[in-house]
């Protein structure tokens, strides 16, 4: 059993109102570390056994077709741990 992680983030040029809301809430709570915040999605996909190269390629396809919308989002796929 392993976990494949797909991270999906809005493309940098697309407005991210959620990230913006977080970025402006932080200083109100006294947190001044951030110069910018972007919010995206994280998918944890459980697969049986060690992920194979073929499986990972399939996940790439699924990430492109379903998990992200290429018009506005980028994604990355990786195996965790």
């Amino acid at each position: 059993m392993a976990t494949i992680v797909v991270d999906v983030m809005l493309k940098p040029e697309i407005l991210d109102p959620q990230g913006k809301a977080v970025a402006s809430a932080l200083p109100r709570l006294g947190f001044t570390f951030a110069t910018d915040v972007r919010q995206g999605k994280r998918f944890e996909i459980t697969v049986d056994g060690e992920p194979t190269a073929a499986q990972l390629a399939e996940v790439e396809v699924a990430a492109e077709k379903l998990l992200s919308n290429p018009v506005i989002e980028n994604f990355t796929v990786r195996v965790e741990k």
């Binding site: 809005l10 040029e13 697309i14 407005l15 109102p17 959620q18 809301a21 379903l66 998990l67 919308n69 018009v71 506005i72």
Partner: protein, 222 residues
């Protein structure tokens, strides 16, 4: 004139859309997402709602429903297709029209009587209006902010494909106040606000929405 109204799991405004078709004088035909079947309809409406709970992204899962295959083929062939709200999101996810609909800038669901301006009355769904006619119909969504890249925006503006724009304050952060757009041919229209909720002053803010449904009936006669 038969107009199909598609129901996905989680569709909400299908009965309203069917009622609007009837009010306009057409015959509404129920289409089920799981049947790859258009039942001989002359036009199709993808109604509003939360298909598949709006999980993942609005419209992202519905876009792969069996009914979409014949529907996409028919629409590419010129059949009038209107996506309202969630239906607009399905059209965008299916790349039948450019761009994407994202979280409202203020991050809230917003239900309000919205003034929009019909900027292109040459589409299958807007020919009953006069150009630049201002109408009020309900807007209700959480992810209605239209986004696309600069090039697409330029194209939409240049080709007159922004069929309706919000009037007044931007209600959700849509680029260039976009409320609705069409494909090149003008048979496919995506619209964020809900004309089907404005066909009777008793139950809506007025009757301004009826024109979308009478338009398609006229378009089909032509």
């Amino acid at each position: 004139m038969k107009i199909g109204v598609v129901t996905f799991p989680g569709t909400l405004d299908d009965r309203d859309a069917a009622r609007a078709v009837r009010y306009a004088g057409g015959e509404a035909v129920a289409l089920w997402h799981d049947d790859a079947e258009l039942k001989g309809v002359d036009a199709v409406i993808l109604p509003g709602g939360f298909s598949y709970g709006d999980y993942l992204r609005c419209g992202a899962i519905s876009r792969f429903s069996p009914v979409m295959e014949p529907l996409i083929a028919a629409a590419m062939g010129g059949m009038p297709l209107l996506g309202i709200c969630n239906g607009f999101q399905v059209l965008a996810e299916a790349h039948l029209i450019p761009g994407a609909l994202t979280r409202n800038q203020h991050l809230h669901f917003l239900c309000t009587d919205q003034k929009i301006r019909i900027e292109n009355n040459n589409t299958a769904w807007t020919n009953s209006y006069t150009k630049d006619q201002e109408i009020v119909i309900p807007l209700k969504n959480g992810e209605g902010s239209y986004q696309c890249d600069d090039e697409t925006l330029k194209m939409l503006e240049g080709e007159g494909r922004i069929i309706a724009r919000y009037v007044g304050e931007n209600p959700n952060g849509s680029r260039n106040l976009i409320a609705g757009i069409s494909n090149e041919r003008g048979n496919i229209v995506g619209l964020m606000p809900h004309p089907e909720h404005a066909i009777d002053a008793l139950t809506g803010p007025g009757v301004d929405g009826l024109g979308f449904f009478t338009s398609v009936l006229k378009a089909m006669v032509k």
